[in-house]
């Protein structure tokens, strides 16, 4: 556990030593502000639903930028060799890196809290769906980050990691919007695999164990694949 925290802590701090964290945070906050306030007064409702809707979409695009370098850059520069030959297991490296980026993501989420707060000053805000929405965002973000880490474990090129991660996360987000094109059996299966399907019900204030399990499973699966990819170098 100590190793995991040491690796995660280093990763977390190194985001702030470079520009990536600042750029991603700025872009997310600016686009969110733009889309959210643009329509807020048209609806005339004191609700944070729109914020969650936009944020879930923006994050699907933004989070892969945080994960693209996690392993790819370490492989390119060779630092992975020094890291792995310290007394750690591959699993600790993967989980540590994941916690590091999850920490940064948590900060990003905390930075958006002023939105519901300012909404609550304008009207009577129901805080229940806000908290469940944040939980949903956190879980969906975890899944996107884990997928990004997985993509980063496959290559030593950050750009490739970025595009693979973007493709995967956008694909899972957009799945339930393509359903009209499909026969109904396939449609309900695909709907169930969609991030947004699970997230939207949480944003409405419904915490369903199945939604939690879905995000947990995707996250664990992606981390396991990343672990295998990192470990496979030993036998190549």
């Amino acid at each position: 556990m100590r190793n995991i925290l040491t690796i995660g802590g280093r990763q977390f701090r190194s985001y702030f030593n470079g520009p990536v964290a600042y750029i991603v945070i700025c872009i997310v906050m600016l686009t969110l502000g733009f889309f959210f306030w643009k329509t807020f007064f048209l609806f005339g409702r004191a609700s944070a639903r729109e914020m969650f809707r936009w944020l879930s979409l923006i994050l699907v695009f933004a989070l892969p930028a945080l994960t693209m370098g996690l392993l790819a850059e370490e492989k390119r520069t060779g630092t992975i060799e020094l890291l792995i030959t310290m007394p750690v297991t591959e699993a600790q490296v993967i989980v540590g890196k994941f916690f590091g980026v999850l920490g940064l993501y948590s900060i990003l989420l905390v930075l958006t809290v002023p939105y519901p707060i300012s909404v609550s000053t304008l009207g009577d805000l129901d805080w229940g769906p806000v908290w469940s929405g944040y939980l949903g965002l956190f879980l969906q973000g975890s899944a996107v980050l884990a997928l990004g880490l997985m993509a980063s474990s496959w290559t030593s090129n950050q750009l490739i990691a970025l595009f693979v991660a973007l493709t995967l996360s956008v694909f899972f987000w957009v799945l339930d919007k393509l359903l009209a094109l499909l026969p109904s059996g396939a449609a309900s299966a695909l709907e169930w695999m969609s991030f947004d399907y699970h997230f939207q019900s949480m944003a409405r204030g419904v915490i369903d164990l199945r939604d939690l399990l879905f995000f947990f499973s995707v996250t664990l699966f992606a981390l396991a694949v990343a672990f295998r990819a990192l470990e496979s170098r030993r036998w190549s």
Binding site: R2, N3, T77, G78, T79, L82, T85, P87, R233
Partner: protein, 319 residues
């Protein structure tokens, strides 16, 4: 614990169909500084990566400080301080921040960590740059940071992959001195192309060529094995003939053969004296020249040095 710190048995590694390493077997004892020599792609780095459990061998196995690389890779890594080729460090981190990270990863905490940090910073003379980011440092300083992170947990075994490559002569001399210092208490394996380094730094040399170990000896024995010393004598020509000169030196000590080196330049005569044994004939040559009224312009002892042996061993190994 026994005195064998590293024991490799039949290490073999295939990358696809390419054999990077074939049946390498060697031992390194406590307190030895062993130089790993070989041309690029000979298998030095592969061997080091196997010993540090970064990659697994396709065949054979190894024990480091008593732990098997397959059965207990964590114990192996704990016993090792490793500096990979090209010193890959997190360039965005500060030196101190990085060393702290390296110490924590090796299980150091609190006062132990502080003591370790102080010790390595002093040992590697990093005091002036601890607050700088690693990316700003010169190559020599980076190399020292790399050594510092490998030393912080006082490992019994150090594995250094080309620690002196890319450094200017002054930096290389400093690092060499540092490694010699370190090697007093620890077992060190270092790889290099630079034969002079090996001669001054290492107590034993392993020469590897095309994935096979072709020599395992001390630098002196290796040199002795390859050939006798020769003495190259440069004289002012005046009006001596080459034959006269040969006659003078053939009676020196137990000189065996005296040959004139082909192209003596104008006004100079160069001969080569080869002794029967390994004797140092320089004094005798000097006296013989004086008594025969020859003007001595130069006298040089040439052993067959490591370089020649290295070339011999690594070029005929495939044949």
């Amino acid at each position: 614990m026994s005195d064998v710190m590293i024991e490799a048995r039949d290490l073999t590694k295939h990358y696809g169909t390419v054999a990077a390493l074939q049946n390498a077997t060697f031992r390194v004892n406590r307190g030895e500084v062993v130089g790993f020599l070989g041309p690029n792609g000979a298998g030095k780095t592969t061997t080091m990566k196997i010993l540090t459990c970064f990659i697994a061998p396709s065949g054979g196995t190894a024990r480091v400080a008593g732990a098997d690389i397959f059965e207990d890779p964590i114990a192996v890594r704990r016993a090792i301080g490793y500096l990979p080729e090209n010193t890959p460090l997190y360039t965005e981190m500060l030196v101190l921040e990085y060393l702290e990270f390296a110490g924590k990863m090796r299980g150091l905490r609190g006062s132990e960590l502080q003591a370790g940090l102080r010790k390595v910073v002093e040992e590697t003379s990093l005091g002036d740059v601890v607050g700088k980011s690693i990316g700003e440092l010169s190559k020599g300083f980076r190399q020292r940071v790399g050594l510092a992170q490998a030393l912080i947990h006082e490992p019994p075994v150090l594995i250094l992959d080309e620690p002196m490559s890319g450094l200017d002569p002054n930096q290389a001399a400093e690092i060499r001195e540092l490694i010699r210092e370190i090697g007093r208490e620890r077992t060190v394996i270092l790889s290099t192309h630079n034969l002079a380094e090996v001669q001054v730094t290492c107590s034993r040399v392993l020469i590897i060529s095309e994935g096979r170990l072709v020599a395992d000896d001390t630098p002196d024995d290796l040199a002795a094995r390859a050939g006798k010393p020769r003495f190259v004598v440069t004289l002012r020509k005046d009006d001596h003939s080459a034959a006269d000169v040969r006659a003078v030196f053939s009676s020196v000590g137990n000189a065996q053969t005296v040959t004139e080196v082909a192209a003596s330049s104008a006004g100079e005569l160069i001969v080569e004296v080869v002794p029967k044994g390994n004797d140092d004939l320089r004094a005798d040559i000097f006296r013989a020249a004086v008594s025969a009224d020859l003007v001595l312009l130069g006298l040089e002892q040439r052993g067959e040095n490591l370089e020649d042996i290295f070339r011999q061993l690594t070029t005929k190994a495939g044949a």
